[in-house]
């Protein structure tokens, strides 16, 4: 009797299988690259899936102009090292109107991210987009398919999802319709960290604790990453040892105070922690099922 595969080997092989199916069954795929740890793992898996070929698709970064500086740095480095094409899309309307997280609240995410993503997919006629979402992140994601069908208007309809049996993925669609593909569906946060550790994958330094300038907004610890941040009269950022469990637009991403400066320490801290990953993101907390509502509108 042969030894069963360990869970990480099983997950890796499953993700590779998914990526190869996408390449074979769609016309113009793209990988959404958000520079976070999940994107890093997804890109690493893509390199494995197609080796010795380069992954046969470009990377797409839907930029909001409000990401952390360290994220832009790593993004450009990764594009250079992997030799893959990197497409950066910034919603021109959002730019024109000067949409920002301070004055526009929820609109900021809607317009830069959700609208921006739809624009980019339409502009380049991508019919399949890889995303790094996981089922363990949030309740409505737990029901997401691996091959998630979107209408020509990019809508997700949770009630008419295609049944997904075995590893038989149905990638068929009409013109204009598209698929979102989630190769990390069955990974958990711990699996991601462990894989980064085992495979030695480079991630944004912001995941590691370091002294950084911070202020407190709405009970969240926010890092002041540039001088666009509106400080109150006489307010001075406080240097605290912080790190991030999840990365997004810097004014909307909560940090945690931490001294964990190595991967091992991060994993240790994560295992002992008592708050869930998405708590660091303001956008999820609008209402009880807000992620589901966002997904229906086309947010990833």
């Amino acid at each position: 009797m042969k030894q069963a595969q360990t869970h990480l080997a099983r997950l890796e092989s499953e993700s590779i299988e998914i990526m190869r199916e996408v390449i074979s069954e769609t016309d113009n795929p793209v990988m959404l690259y958000s520079v976070g740890k999940d994107s890093a793992v997804m890109l690493h898996l893509a390199k494995k899936a197609f080796y010795p070929s380069l992954p046969p698709f470009p990377l797409l970064h839907v930029d909001t102009t409000w990401k952390f500086k360290d994220m832009y740095k790593l993004r450009d480095k990764v594009a250079k090292v992997t030799k893959m094409e990197l497409i950066v899309h910034q919603n021109p309307k959002a730019k024109e109107k000067g949409i920002n997280p301070f004055d526009h609240g929820v609109l900021h995410t809607d317009i830069w991210k959700t609208e921006g993503l739809k624009q980019a997919l339409d502009k380049y006629r991508f019919d399949a987009a890889f995303g790094g979402a996981r089922r363990d992140e949030e309740k409505s994601r737990a029901k997401e398919r691996v091959f998630s069908f979107r209408t020509a208007q990019h809508l997700w309809e949770p009630r008419v999802q295609r049944p997904e049996l075995w590893s038989l993925y149905n990638a068929r669609k009409a013109k204009g319709e598209s698929m979102r593909i989630f190769p990390l569906s069955n990974w958990t946060e711990l699996d991601i960290w462990q894989y980064i550790y085992v495979e030695n994958i480079e991630i944004v330094p912001l995941y590691f604790a370091a002294p950084r300038p911070t202020v407190i907004r709405n009970g969240m610890l926010i890092m002041v990453d540039d001088d666009r941040f509106p400080l109150e009269m006489g307010e001075k950022p406080v240097i605290r040892s912080i790190r991030f469990r999840t990365l997004g637009c810097y004014p909307l991403t909560g940090a945690i105070e931490s001294k964990a400066s190595t991967l091992i320490e991060i994993i240790q801290e994560m295992l002992l922690t008592t708050t869930s990953e998405r708590q660091g993101r303001i956008i999820d907390k609008d209402q009880g099922v807000s992620m589901e509502a966002k997904k229906q509108q086309g947010y990833f």
Binding site: K2, L8, R10, R135, S140, R162, L165, N170, N186, Q279
Partner: protein, 633 residues
């Protein structure tokens, strides 16, 4: 609790040791079956809660939600953790399949949670297709229900090997052993009947936590393991798959440059070493493995479950959808099968219609005969059926347009399980399991004849072809077909005109105008046209042939370039105004049923070779255009 779950102190003290142990954990996927009332969501919520997979912020939200919903008084309603979608929370039911994750000291778990109601059979089948084990929940107060039988049957049908019978809500029957024993007895009788072999029974209370992670003091008469202990000790790596011979469907041909040609795929059975002989299916060409390539370096050997890229010693033809297999006893190849089908679409199965069939990594066209019978999933009785509707399960003969490598589902799921996709909506409309291949097609061999189709064609000094005219009634098909044949005849071409009305007087006089009969009508005409091209003729056909899928089937019967689809494009209102045969007025009066364009659909060709707009073109011009195109091939 510390006995079972992650011990915080270990993590704090020796994280490396912890990671080491976690890295080597195995993964168990299990499905939970039972209705909402049986306390399924509560049980899952409890598993997540006890294994500390619920974080403080989630817990805070949960407490608020529990109070708001008010189903458990001031206590936590664990079910709210699990029922994700807004519609489900409102209705208090689980509609879709959802996946939950937790881990214990020994294992990682993926819980597949599916709805219990009969109208969600398809969701349960979906969940069961990837599970290693099934947890069957029974409410101690209610005992076995019809749905218990249905769930067990479906899980068994999908090939799950291990079953755990969990008798829940023991607290509500005072932890009475007799209640437990009698439920277990009844279930064993049933399980034996459907062929379930590995079965364990556990008395629990999801709400109180009895015998889930800690042995309960309330059930001193129970000597078995707790649920978690049991899930941790089930042997893994034993699927139902009996095939041990190497098998890898080719997903993608890897060609980074002209020096490298590798075949990428996931191994679905057995193992392979460098130098071993392999055979490519269905071509049956053989070669030897040269390298097993991965990003992390070449391997000497690879086995079931691994995704690799294989290069071969010889330059032989192999593409996506084909299978690389060990040369001793490779999978068999056939084109007609006895299958068990699970229908998953609102629109019922149409026998005779072509569906896409995805099996392994191959997509072919398949047609399904009228089911032999439907299975009543509650009583397991066989019932007569002429189709299958949403959530029905039945047995039917399925025929593919090309021969495919297969293994019966009971032997290997990858080459025995398939999905069916509607050609127009692109929905996944059904799933199926291959039971066995039919001997019929395997035993009827093609008889070799000395005079080939080429000989016939050469003698007639022409290239055979099928000119397939399609369009609604009154569009002008027959008139144009006739004009084309007259012209060709004058040019000394050997032709034959197959006309819809004429064929219905003879060969197809047993067929009516229902969707099923229309499909059969076209299939027969296609076969006749095919024989006539073999005889070297240029065949002209004039049939409404309203469905794209049937026209495509006929196209695939012919050699490439021999099928010329001509769309006689006449708008409905013009055809109706002409109404040469008076049929439209009859149809409008309701005297003719299933009339194309009125109460039966016409699907215009997607990419016809020729498009004839009869509103701007005379009959003669149309015929000229068709002939010009014919000779350009």
């Amino acid at each position: 609790m510390d006995k079972v779950y992650e011990i915080d102190t270990l993590i704090a003290k020796d994280i490396n040791a912890y990671l080491e142990s976690h890295q080597n954990k195995l993964l168990l996927r299990f499905i939970t079956c039972g209705s909402v009332d049986d306390g399924k969501s509560t049980l899952i919520g409890r598993l997540l809660y006890d294994s500390k997979m619920i974080f403080e912020d989630q817990l805070a939200q949960l407490k608020v939600d529990s109070k708001k919903m008010g189903t458990q008084g001031n206590k936590i309603d664990f079910a709210l953790l699990v029922d994700g979608l807004a519609a489900e929370r409102e209705q208090g039911i689980t509609i879709d399949v959802s996946y939950r994750f937790f881990s214990t000291k020994k294992r990682k778990f993926i819980v597949v949670d599916t709805p219990g109601h009969e109208q969600y059979t398809r969701n349960m089948v979906t969940g069961a297709s990837t599970a290693d084990l099934a947890v069957i929940l029974i409410d101690a107060r209610k005992g076995m229900l019809t749905q218990t039988c249905r769930h067990s049957y479906l899980c068994h049908l999908l090939g799950i090997q291990n079953f755990v019978l969990v008798v829940n809500k023991m607290d509500l029957v005072d932890y009475n052993q007799e209640v437990f024993d009698s439920i277990v007895y009844n279930y064993y009788e049933f399980a034996k009947r459907i062929g379930i072999q590995n079965l364990t029974s556990i008395p629990i209370s999801g709400l109180k936590g009895d015998n889930i992670t800690i042995r309960s003091d309330s059930t001193p008469w129970y000597n078995g393991l707790t649920l978690i202990d049991h899930l941790e000790s089930i042997k893994l790596g034993q699927t139902g798959d009996k095939t041990q011979n190497f098998c890898m469907p080719v997903q993608w041909v890897n060609r980074p440059n002209s020096d490298f040609r590798g075949f990428s795929g996931k191994i679905t059975a057995g193992s392979i070493k460098i130098g071993e002989e392999v055979v490519i299916l269905p071509s049956k060409k053989t070669s030897h493995v040269e390298r097993i390539v991965t990003f992390d370096g070449d391997l000497n050997m690879a086995s079931n479950g691994q995704s690799v890229t294989i290069t071969l010693k010889d330059e032989i033809d192999c593409s996506r959808g084909q299978i690389i297999s060990s040369s001793n006893s490779p999978p068999k190849v056939a084109d007609q099968f006895n299958t068990t089908l699970i229908w998953m679409d609102e629109k019922k199965l149409i026998p005779g219609r072509a569906y896409y069939m995805k099996i392994g990594v191959q997509t072919v066209m398949a047609t399904i005969a009228e089911p032999k019978y439907e299975i009543n999933v509650n009583t397991l009785e066989h019932m007569a059926a002429d189709s299958l509707k949403l959530n029905s399960i039945g047995v039917a003969i399925l025929t593919t347009d090309v021969s495919i490598p297969f293994t019966p589902y009971a032997e290997n799921k990858t080459l025995g399980g398939f999905i069916l996709i509607d050609k127009f909506t692109n929905s996944t409309v059904g799933a199926g399991l291959i039971n066995f291949a039919l001997r019929r097609t395997q035993n009827i061999h093609w008889q070799n004849v000395n005079i080939t189709r080429d000989d016939h064609a050469i003698l007639k000094k022409q290239k055979p072809a099928v000119i397939w005219l399609t369009g609604i009634s009154g569009s002008g098909k027959s008139t144009i077909a006739n004009a084309v044949e007259k012209k060709l005849n004058r040019m000394n071409r050997h032709t034959f005109l197959l006309d819809g009305d004429n064929i219905r007087h003879g060969l197809n006089k047993d067929l009516g105008f229902t969707e099923v009969d229309r499909i059969e009508n076209i299939r027969r005409v296609g076969e006749v046209a095919k024989l006539m091209t073999d005889a070297g003729l240029i065949v002209i056909t004039a049939f409404i042939s309203p469905f794209e899928s049937e026209r495509q089937i006929v196209r695939k019967m012919m050699s490439p370039g021999e099928f010329i689809e001509v769309f006689i494009n006449t708008p409905l209102h013009i055809a109706e105004k002409r109404d040469v045969k008076g049929l439209y007025s009859k149809a409008r009066l309701g005297q003719l049923k299933n009339f194309t364009g009125i109460d039966s659909p016409y699907e215009p060709p997607e990419k016809p070779e020729i498009n004839i707009d009869t509103t701007s073109m005379s009959i003669d011009e149309a015929a000229e255009k068709i002939i010009k195109k014919l000779f350009s091939f």
